[in-house]
Symmetry: C2
Amino acid sequence: MTGLDDNWFTEIYAEESIAFSLRIRNKLHEETTPYQTISIYETETFGNLMAIDGCVMLSGRDNFLYHEMMAHPVLFTHRNPKRVAIIGGGDCGTLQEVLRHPDIEEVWQAEIDERVTRLSETWFPELCTANTDPRANFFFGDGIKWVQDTDPGYFDIIIVDSTDPVGPAEGLFTRDFYRDCFMALGESGLLVQQTESPLMDESKSIIRKAHEDMRGAGYEHTKTLLFPQPVYPTGWWSCTLAGKTTPPEYFREADAQEKPFPTRYYTADVHAAAMALPPFLQEMIGEDHPLGGEG
Amino acid sequence: MTGLDDNWFTEIYAEESIAFSLRIRNKLHEETTPYQTISIYETETFGNLMAIDGCVMLSGRDNFLYHEMMAHPVLFTHRNPKRVAIIGGGDCGTLQEVLRHPDIEEVWQAEIDERVTRLSETWFPELCTANTDPRANFFFGDGIKWVQDTDPGYFDIIIVDSTDPVGPAEGLFTRDFYRDCFMALGESGLLVQQTESPLMDESKSIIRKAHEDMRGAGYEHTKTLLFPQPVYPTGWWSCTLAGKTTPPEYFREADAQEKPFPTRYYTADVHAAAMALPPFLQEMIGEDHPLGGEG
């Protein structure tokens, strides 16, 4: 019935009983690290593809949507960001977007699996152009422990660019981790985390739980932003921002309009648009989080 | 490699070498009409599914995204809409959304294949609640000829809710058809058409061609709106509005905020957000259409 032969890579998203497939030309590489199995394919139309444990991480064609939305909204929300930490993000695409901001002085990428970064340098060199930037710093190891060891108040922004909340990334979707980040952030610090698809069953909603746990960890403000991401399940994705004292509803719109670098998806208008949450999602997030809704 | 057995329905979107699959419980119905083969499945998590010639038309779970966005933006753009025509739209979901507007006096649904409507009444009754509304009128036959036979200036709004631009729907994506609609619309009339995924190769872009052909047919203003639609290829979809004299950038925002009916996706904020086009799409649509971009 499927008509898909061995020339297709398929990710089955079992919880929602859906699957997404890409036609491939070649498997370029595969290796099993202490953490996971990383596969690289050449696809017909989506450029190179990285999968981890069978789940699509990124394609050359559409990763700009995700990487731009993980970096620029939070950076244009903080009043004056200088120091940024990325937890995960081993493909270096988020790092590259962060370093497009000239005022950023120091970025740390804390990725558990160095092989993700090395394979990205080989197969996604277009994402790694900022890796030699003197402001870029790399830590390979446990991101949770690394955040705990950070000097209190050191970072302006922490970006949690992780895999799904199973396996190595599970601990990144917890109140304890959000509290560790809270300690590592300055007074006006902001956290942003990828929070999966908004079209999930309410009972398993990662978005709702993220709001609850972020508030529970002490952040005054939380806000979910939406964006398309065709290679991820349902094709519709989200990130959730948490501000210790800074409300993510208000961003430096004039600065975003005048940004000194090109983007393919992000603009000030797209940033504002990403905050418009549909009623079904406002309900899912819950009335007890007024700033998670339209407010 | 795919791991998908016979319990999955798969749509292969050959042009982009991608596929989307839904796990099914049963095939509920299948028939071949003079126009196409219509299949109805019960899926695990997306409710009932209608496919035509192997392409997903709608699922019970996520059709609200599409139907709300095909109806409400154009209705809240026209100053005072009374008469609406729907070309295609046989599942009656768009008709239902249109009839939520109390000021609408008359709606015609011109669908080529009556069996689509009859099967929707059986398998998607939740989309057909307005079919007995006295304002609802049904024509089953060739929508192109039906528009040509319409009294000039009769309709305020024409909604082209069609399948992909191949087979029966091909003639709905042409300058001639847009011109026929132009004649059937009043002075401040508006046309809206579903225009497929924004993440297509530039060379085959249906969105770009729609802008060109709509302008060529005499409409002063064109504007593309974006929205998610998980069961369609790439999960990201669009509709393009064309105003004879009415610019789609300006809608009745206060009326949309005060709308007297509930929605799950559409709000005034979501409407405004849907008009924020990313730079890559502005470029694809072309500089010669300033109102197709951010303007």
